[in-house]
Symmetry: C2
């Protein structure tokens, strides 16, 4: 059968069966070769492979512009890095096997809801990418790059047909440059990562109590006094906006007000509510001069950021500061404002008018939603789907961030299970559901440094990206983790450092160029989840983030895999390879402590790990015994079982600001042993 | 005893014993804590440590300028990366424990032979860095950074007093952006590496037959036709020159002529000697228009590059092209020029006048040295010390590159043993010796990519840097390797990628995120030395450099260490730990093949490694037997011994463009077994 005929049949197949071709219906064998993340809306796999070698050629057809040409160049750069084949010079001259057909331009400023769809058709000899506009092309190129793999015959992609478009139009990553300045180079490589997983909103937050990190030309004391010397020039901001636009990403700025604003007051103390501006965190909402300042400032920033949306924060206001200030109390009495919350309502309404006056749509955190809030304001929810559902019922559009707080060291699976239309949002009418625009992962920088930020963001944000792009029915957590591992490696080709950070930091902590036993320990510990970490150690702006809880990824891959095996052993579903793997791991962990202790004592950064290492050894010893007991179906004394369980539960508690993640899995094994 | 009193005593000690304080006289225990590379001219160690924590403060005293402030900032950036302590904001505000005293400015354009000396005095409470000018400060800051280490009490540097200055004034690294374009970011991070090891000349070569990679505004077709779209703009060149100057590095440009110039002819075919410019590699030295062009071009470039030296190449001319060209033959007859070599002499003399007319001193490869060459011309020698010595005797200054060709996969020790004043240069008079200015490592880019260039340059170039900076008596190769390992890790803090590359490439080759058995094999193989590699595989500009010989470092650290142990075993000097280590390695290698073969078959890039892996296994098996025989002092059959030696010698030959580096060491063991 000729290739063109196969392609023809495949097109027919897609048309005929597209409703059946949702990815979750793929057979296991097909699943293994589809390493796309987020999964496309529709995919159909054929036979064979499209090879990639030095003869590879790519051409743009139809509508063309400079952004498409840069996208093509970037595609070739990434493909060259993925394969080690120097394609960038030659591939544009070669006769094209890969044609990109673009129907027309995108909007001059990327719009919410703009078409991101594409059609990708790969045969054994040709690739055809078709899209209505450059954004769709950018999305489709990423799908192709993710499928590139090595085979005994060379690099190739599998023969597939993909019809794809996102489920939600707002799929964001917040990077908080307020708590800490995040260097431009870090922002850029994370925009590259966002492009790879088809995120389309970079929510850039510039100020918090700790610092004001962007240049204002109108109010230069903001950055002069508030930035500690680290701020983005307007030139750099424009550079990032252009860089993001090239990747199909909108940039929505956030200037959080009226609270989280101590840094503003260093240069402009009259804005502060408190007597001592350096101790005040809330803007004074009672002075006319405040609104004159903010109108000027918002005007300047609205001109700098072309996006239609403008985020004014509004979260977590310390209204006590107003309620205890005699001057502000007096104002509240005069204007019959009953409390601080009501005063914030007044402030927000004024700010909304200023933002609207700049032809921008205001976005704010949950708190900005009040009875009189105009209906076009977008609510970003740190409270959850119910809050979002309520807003949607009242006619407001919203973006979910609760559940996507990637700074809180939750697992990819936890984030993956959070659906913007889950919980009570599931009961919304179809019309109300369209008001739920999507979601945003939030990289708050309270306890992260430029060094480890990539391992906080990646790869888990890819799982959130999939939740926001792929059909609702895509829910297979195991398959998600399989693809996440592959995508995680691919993200390295974009320059992301998440897979390099841990080793580098372990080397520094230990002073050893290859601290193997420390790596063994590091692979099975995690920083505590949610806000427990802050309770275990004091973190200030100057706290060195060079401990093991800073170095390890938020989710232990090894512990997760061991836990999967432990569960299968307990359920008597494990095969002999899995028994063997569990035993090997337990032996490694049991014997690790003796090798690790001498190393730990040499550095003040590792000394605190001594008890964690001892616990791992003891946990593994108990695990080995339980494995044997289970294997031999031996009867165990209930006393001993109980003592072991107590030890394992104690070992599962944080120590040195770390959780020993294999303790609960070993506990599963011990619980499953037979007692009399 | 008070700290100031200790410091006082130490100063006395330095004055009293400085001639005895050459590093090679340090006791082993002292050596272990001095991880400086290049070793300083004088160092004296005291008792105790200077701690580095969040309270660290640094201040500039005496002469100040913007470059010093940037050096201070860069110092703090690196120190922050080395420790994970965020020092950059605070350390300039803290009360200074580290004072930098600069006497006066450097020259506006860094001069050959400019003072680079510094005095560094570290006590348990204070650090004092004194230098006559900012260049000395830059050198001293690096010495401090190299000594930073982690201890049970925190990060610190040992108490030492250093008096330091370089042995040679010209210590360079050539990066060849002629064969391949080397991206700006790569140039920058290698300049950072040069700063770390106190190199002071960046020899930047812009063109070769394959490409012309810098912007000429006067002759824009040079880059428009000759660069394939990849060239440095003049703006970027200026940026790099400023970047290098900040690091105490001169930038000497090379425009190689009259040969290696095919790429020039794409835009300006009239310059070519041949009828078909695309097949010609030599400039036509007989036309007046050639010199008009070159006067204009050199004038433009002499203005762009502020350094006093200007390199015009001159190497490896294919004079046959002239000798077989009727028009050029005619010219030679008319002007009584006896052969092509003589014609090059004429060309060089004219170019030298053009360069001198620009107030620049010409530098060229060996070939430019001719009887009438003006005495100020600097000779760069690819031929060796004897050629350099001969030049020095004739009154010429020279720079050695023979022996420092880091593209040829020689060991650090081989480069380290090459001394610009070695061989017959050792017999020069003191006056003649001053004409030997130093040396340059040469990173030719025939067979290197932007991906693996860092692992070709580093860490071996640090050994060359030591040869050029440190006193002649510094010759301890074992100690060099000990320090090289530490410096190699430190270079990672400058963003150099040499320690990351191999793993990344192995992952790509295998398609496996953590290909452990492939790493085991990779750790004991090397690409063949010198020009043998090119004989084993055809390399063109488009050859993908994604094989194992591209991925592994030029020198196997594991094989070197194994070889050291094997030598000690044979000499009956090995201790039980070393016997144990040798056995462990051999067991690992013997058993690796079974794990590796399934992995190898999955990728076309690893299939060729199957016989190499089998050989490693068999070599290790023989090694284990020999180890036992030696240990038990067993008698071995001469036939078996001979057969094993034959196998080992065959296994030491290149296979898949790789050398199995442990085969010769195992052969040592087998040779040492007792026969009858």
């Amino acid at each position: 059968m000729s290739n063109s005929r196969v392609a023809g049949l495949m097109r027919f197949a897609v048309l005929a069966f597209c409703t059946l071709s949702l990815p979750m219906n793929l057979r296991a064998q097909e699943k293994s070769s589809i390493a796309i993340m987020p999964l496309p809306a529709h995919i159909m796999q054929g036979e064979g492979e499209f090879p990639i070698d030095g003869g590879f050629g790519v051409a743009l057809k139809g509508y063309k512009d400079a952004r498409l040409e840069r996208a093509q160049q970037r595609f070739l750069d990434t493909l060259s890095r993925e394969t080690g084949i120097p394609l960038w010079r030659q591939a544009i001259l070669n006769s094209p096997h890969f044609t990109v057909q673009t129907a027309g331009p995108s909007a001059a400023v990327q719009q919410l809801g703009e078409d991101e769809s594409y059609h990708l058709e790969i045969s054994t000899t040709n690739v055809q990418l078709t899209a209505p506009n450059p954004i769709g092309v950018i999305r489709g190129l990423q799908t192709f790059l993710q499928m590139v793999r090595i085979t005994p015959k060379g690099f190739s992609v599998p023969v597939v047909t993909v019809d794809d478009k996102p489920r939600f139009p707002w799929r964001g990553l917040l990077i908080d440059s307020g708590h800490r300045f995040v260097p431009i180079s870090t922002v850029k490589r994370n925009l590259d990562g966002m492009e790879a997983v088809k995120l389309n909103v970079f929510h850039w937050r510039f100020a918090d109590n700790q610092g004001f990190h962007v240049e204002s030309k109108k109010f230069p004391r903001l950055q002069a006094k508030g930035s500690g010397g680290f701020y983005y020039s307007q030139h750099e901001v424009r550079e990032i906006i252009a860089y993001a636009r090239d990747r199909g990403i909108r940039v929505v700025p956030e200037f959080d007000m009226p609270c989280h604003t101590t840094s503003w007051f260093l240069g402009y103390p009259k804005l502060a509510s408190g007597q001592d501006p350096s101790q005040s965190s809330a803007i004074d909402p009672t002075r006319e001069s405040t609104y004159e300042f903010l109108a000027g400032f918002i005007g300047e920033m609205a001109a700098l950021f072309p996006d239609s949306y403008f985020h004014t924060g509004g979260d977590e206001c310390d209204v006590k500061e107003w309620e205890t200030n005699p001057r502000i109390q007096e104002f509240m009495r005069t204007h019959a404002i009953k409390d601080g919350a009501a005063l914030q309502v007044l402030f927000t309404a004024k700010i909304q008018k200023i933002v609207a006056g700049q032809k921008k749509i205001m976005e704010g955190w949950d708190e900005v939603l009040q009875p009189n809030t105009p209906k076009d304001v977008v609510i970003q929810s740190w409270r959850g789907q119910n809050s979002l559902a309520e807003a949607a019922r009242s006619g407001y559009r919203g973006v979910l961030s609760a559940g996507y707080y990637i700074d809180l060291n939750q697992s990819a699976a936890e984030h993956y299970r959070v659906d913007p239309l889950g919980d009570t949002a599931a009961t919304l009418t179809p019309d109300q559901k369209t008001r739920v625009l999507g979601g945003e992962a939030t990289m708050w920088t309270d306890i992260v440094s430029d060094e480890n930020i990539d391992n906080r963001i990646w790869p888990r944000t890819a799982a959130i990206a999939e939740r926001l792009w792929s059909p609702h029915q895509v829910q297979d957590v195991d398959w998600m983790y399989q693809r996440l591992a592959i995508v995680s490696q691919k993200l390295g080709y974009y320059g992301l450092r998440h897979r390099l950070i841990t080793d580098e930091m372990l080397q520094r902590m230990s002073g050893d160029p290859d601290p193997v036993p420390l790596k063994v320990l590091a692979a099975v510990v995690q920083p505590p989840r949610l806000y427990e970490r802050q309770q275990l150690r004091t973190f200030t702006d100057f706290t060195p983030l060079n401990h093991l809880d800073d170095a390890v990824p938020p989710e232990s891959e090894t512990a997760r895999e061991f836990n999967e095996i432990a569960k299968r052993i307990v359920l008597r579903k494990a095969n002999s390879q899995e028994w063997q793997q569990a035993r090997q791991w337990l032996l490694l962990w049991r014997d690790n402590d003796a090798k690790l202790q001498p190393l730990l004592s040499r550095s003040y950064l590792t000394q605190e790990l001594a008890p964690v290492s001892r616990n791992l050894s003891r946990v593994a010893e108990i695990g080995l015994q339980a494995l044997d007991d289970l294997h031999e179906n031996r009867v165990v004394s209930p006393d001993l079982q109980q003592r072991n369980i107590e030890f394992l539960e104690a070992s599962g508690k944080p120590q040195a600001v770390l959780l020993l993640m294999v303790a609960p899995s070993v506990e599963l094994l011990v619980q499953a042993t037979r007692t009399q």
